[in-house]
């Protein structure tokens, strides 16, 4: 977020805080240490990151609230501050509006969301940086279960890195209509992205409900091409989830989904997921691909659990697995141990070059 906007919002915050000076502002958040070992090309690299997440709980006025959430990360590459939330929300009789840095994601419970405002904003239950954007958002409730959300996200480009001069390139807009019919949660989304020169307009539909003892969800996305030489894009998703109590006491949760998408969208997804353009490392000869995403979670007791996340390319049978162990230690400290393993050495999608073996330890304390 640029400095001017930050200063403006800081002033607004100070004004609001001074108006509610008698009220109590609470601070909460999390302190954590993250250490990773990455094994790549017979070499190991060690990373250590300290992070501090701060949330300000500012008392709401009758019709307005302010959200402030930021994160400081410090590692061998330097210190980075990211505002995840810095927005003001005001309620009116028939709608509410929020302005500033805020999370925008049109989640419906899937592990990968092809109909999101920003594709890849949330992957495998982890929020990505694409989720937190500078936007104006209006929510119009229709009834208790239905509403329309309109998002306007100005797209700015740094044209001079030294002076940080920005160029306004256009506004990405989106509309999401959501309701429930016959106990199925339904949403219809439309996005217009002026920066996407190939496919400016995108429509998506999502559904979530129960099918007997199973949870069922599905999504379809269609992107219309603006050029005759470029094809339209479709993404299809189908998922199921299920939970069971074993031996009266132990709980298992299973979730799995299949996503059918083109090689172009697969590259886009991979770049977002791996935060790197790996196009040269991929042999994507087929037109369409099937990705499999899954999660198995087992509760050992009230304080600890094991999870296994899986993300794979069915076409070339390559998979990345993330086993994870979580434990809440005495003193309100969380321990998470995880690893990422790719199954293939070849130029498959999830190969060990794209997804090197890594082991990660995280300790965090919530306050």
């Amino acid at each position: 977020m640029n400095k001017k906007l930050l200063i403006i919002f800081s002033f607004l915050l100070i004004i609001l805080l001074s108006l509610t000076a008698s009220a109590e502002v609470e601070i909460g958040g999390e302190v954590g240490v993250d250490s990773s070992v990455i094994f790549n090309n017979n070499q190991s690299e060690f990373y250590l990151t300290e992070n501090l997440k701060i949330k300000l709980f500012i008392p709401q006025t009758k019709s307005a609230e302010v959200k402030v959430d930021f994160e400081l990360r410090n590692n061998q590459f330097g210190t980075n501050t990211t505002f995840k939330k810095l927005y003001i929300k005001r309620g009116y009789n028939n709608f509410n509006i929020s302005l500033g840095r805020q999370p925008v994601s049109w989640s419906f419970g899937s592990l990968i969301n092809p109909v999101d405002f920003n594709f890849g904003a949330e992957i495998m239950d982890q929020s990505q940086s694409a989720k937190y954007i500078d936007a104006a958002k209006i929510y119009i409730p229709v009834n208790w279960k239905s509403g329309v959300e309109i998002v306007a996200n100005p797209q700015l480009e740094i044209i001079d890195p030294e002076s940080k001069k920005l160029n306004f390139k256009g506004t990405k807009t989106g509309i999401r209509a959501r309701t429930m019919i016959n106990n199925y949660d339904l949403s219809l989304n439309y996005i217009n992205d002026p920066l996407d020169i190939n496919r400016k307009n995108k429509i998506g539909l999502s559904l979530k409900g129960d099918l007997g003892p199973l949870g069922l969800y599905s999504a379809v996305s269609y992107e219309k091409s603006t050029k005759q030489t470029i094809e339209d894009e479709n993404i299809y998703l189908l998922g199921l989830d299920y939970s069971k109590t074993i031996n009266y006491d132990q709980r298992v949760y299973l979730q799995g989904e299949v996503i059918n998408l083109s090689s172009i969208k697969l590259k886009e997804f991979a770049t977002t997921l791996l935060q790197a353009d790996i196009s040269d490392n991929l042999e994507l000869d087929e037109k369409r691909y099937n990705l499999l995403a899954g999660n198995i979670s087992y509760s050992i007791n009230n304080f600890s659990s094991v999870n296994l996340f899986l993300l794979g390319n069915i076409n070339d049978s390559s998979f990345a697995l993330t086993p994870q162990y979580k434990n809440q230690l005495p003193g309100n400290i969380d321990l998470t141990i995880s690893s990422i393993l790719a199954t293939s050495k070849n130029k498959d999608f999830f190969n060990q070059e794209n997804v090197p073996l890594s082991i990660n330890f995280n300790l965090s304390y919530s306050f």
Binding site: G28, P103, N143, W144, L214, S243, T245, F303, P330
Partner: protein, 258 residues
């Protein structure tokens, strides 16, 4: 013996017999008239414990082998609708909305509202021994179970009716059978043994403290002990309760969840 004397003795005998029969009848019928049925006991219990609408501030302390985890929440319920918001530091801002048979969850970091699948209703809420169904259930016990009065007993120096409850066929319940100790004077369930269909004892719920609210008794401290694991329990403490407050319908909306 002369005839008059015999007649007198005979009359006295008849009088005594009639008197004894009358006393016997009085005792027999009065006992029957005063005998209370299982349904009446449960209905009286529901008058105390069944909530039409309420605002509750509560705490759950989850204990496992010496380790403790505390969840604090505010719950607003009206009929079949319930809204729960967690206020402890770890889960602050996490909210649930139950409307009829549907459950939604709000994830505060991502600001996502997600509909929760129906099969999750029987799973532990936020890692506790209370399921979503236990915390947010609004149906009366008499609609879910068939009750039988099996005796009387004592629990914590209080005389109790002991009832056995078996799930009504076709009804989805967390526990197939329950054995319940209901305080004879206050009509509060002081202890419940919760069984699986196989007969295995799963949990025991015990009330540690009862308070009176405008003539109505309500358990304010109760402990649910997991009998399948040693030293595992969840204590549920009601810190503040307001019965039948004025509740705006806008509380039970997806907009309020965000």
């Amino acid at each position: 013996m002369n005839t008059n004397k015999l007649t007198k003795i005979d009359f006295n005998m008849k009088l005594i017999t009639s008197f004894l029969i009358m006393i016997f009848c009085l005792i027999f019928f009065s006992q029957n008239m005063m005998a209370i049925t299982a349904e009446e006991i449960i209905n009286k219990r529901d008058e105390n414990e069944y909530i039409e609408s309420a605002r509750i501030e509560a705490k759950m302390i989850i204990t496992n082998s010496g380790r403790e985890m505390t969840k604090e929440m505010v719950s607003i319920s009206k009929g079949e609708d319930a809204f729960v918001e967690f206020t402890n530091s770890r889960d602050r801002g996490t909210k649930y909305l139950k409307k009829g048979d549907n459950l939604w969850m709000f994830f505060p970091d991502a600001e996502d509202v997600v509909k929760i699948s129906g099969h999750m209703m029987n799973q532990g809420m936020m890692g506790s021994d209370f399921s979503y169904q236990d915390i947010m259930e609004s149906t009366k016990m008499t609609e879910l179970y068939n009750f039988e009065l099996i005796g009387e007993g004592e629990y914590n120096n209080r005389t109790c009716y002991i009832l056995e409850a078996t799930a009504v066929e076709g009804k989805e319940v967390s526990y197939y059978r329950r054995k319940i100790w209901i305080d004879k004077e206050r009509f509060i369930a002081l202890k419940e043994e919760l069984y699986a269909q196989s007969g295995r004892l799963l949990k025991v719920s015990e009330v540690k403290e009862v308070d009176e609210f405008e003539g109505r008794y309500y358990p304010v401290i109760s402990i649910m002990e997991n009998k399948l694991r040693e030293n595992t329990s969840t204590e549920f403490i009601v810190e503040k309760i307001e019965f039948n407050p004025e509740i705006d319908e806008s509380i039970f909306t997806l907009e309020n969840l965000q």
